[in-house]
């Protein structure tokens, strides 16, 4: 496999998807703030989307399915970002912080 020919192999995309997922997962566990967690979640979604697109390109019989799925994920992500923004702001208004440790009394 030539290094310049990577773009024509399914594995490349799967690996990068896995990396994005892994990095996102790590971030989700390790990040402290709501915004940081949201960013990590977006990375996980991006990893999933890359996989969808890759399968769509190489193995799917109908090459529109993956694209539509990715578009759907995008819409979800956009909605998620909007909601998250308002949650973050609401939390900030009430607790004056977005540190999840400080917001722990949200539980009860």
């Amino acid at each position: 496999m030539n290094i310049l020919d990577l773009s024509n192999h399914l594995q490349t995309y799967l690996v990068i998807g896995a990396f994005l997922f892994g990095i996102g997962f790590y971030g989700l566990l390790q990040r402290q703030t709501l915004i940081g967690m949201l960013i990590s979640a977006e990375l996980i979604l991006a990893g999933a989307s890359v996989n969808f697109m890759a399968f769509n390109r190489f193995v799917a019989p109908d090459p529109t399915v993956g694209q539509i799925f990715t578009l759907f994920i995008m819409a979800i992500a956009a909605a998620e970002a909007a909601i998250a923004l308002s949650i973050v702001i609401a939390v900030y208004r009430n607790y004056k912080t977005i540190d999840t440790v400080d917001v722990a009394d949200l539980e009860g």
Binding site: I23, L29, L43, V50, M53, P61, P63, Q67, I68, S86
Partner: protein
């Protein structure tokens, strides 16, 4: 297939490598940056890379939508969140202790390793016949015919999101 570096394909290969690099670097910044604003910038960088990868997957439409929605909207919204909720760039949030960091790193590393091994090991059967070319027109057609449910769902999700964020934003303002 082994394109020479000076040919058009070779050039495309280099660009692809750059895109991979950008994606990886962006993701790393997004997760590891000390300042939230840099994390968002890293996320934007990562999404630009992902958009490039989509372009190589022969779907320019999705690639451009990725740019438009993620970089132009989601990241901007995130920066807004940072601006509104974090007026002290100097003040850092407490770090989670090293044990959690190490554990999460190990967990995530194992997950990634497993997935990569899975991807490498498996053999993928290519579809014998492709129904269409997957161009923009095809995407549009199937979005309005076969997968019209997705279309409707997206609109419902967006509507709910709009109403939800309005309600949340409103509630915060009520004291003023």
């Amino acid at each position: 297939m082994n394109p020479p570096i000076t040919s058009a394909d070779g050039l495309a290969g280099i660009v692809f490598l750059v895109m991979l690099l950008v994606t990886g670097a962006g993701a790393m910044i997004a997760v590891n940056a000390e300042r939230t604003i840099r994390a968002v910038a890293g996320l934007a960088l990562c999404f630009v890379g992902v958009a490039g990868i989509y372009y190589f997957l022969q779907s320019p439409f999705v690639a451009l939508m990725e740019m438009l929605i993620y970089v132009g909207a989601v990241c901007v919204v995130l920066v807004f969140a940072v601006m509104l909720a974090e007026p002290h760039p100097e003040q850092q949030v407490s770090k989670r202790n090293a044990l959690v960091g190490g554990l999460s790193f190990i967990t995530a590393g194992m997950l990634t390793w497993g997935l990569v091994a899975l991807a490498k090991g498996a053999t993928w059967s290519t579809a014998a016949v492709r129904m269409n070319e997957g161009t923009m027109r095809d995407v549009g057609l199937s979005l309005l015919t076969t997968y019209s449910m997705v279309f409707e769902l997206v609109s419902v999700v967006l509507l709910v999101a709009i109403i939800g964020s309005l309600v949340l934003g409103r509630a915060g303002r009520s004291k003023a």
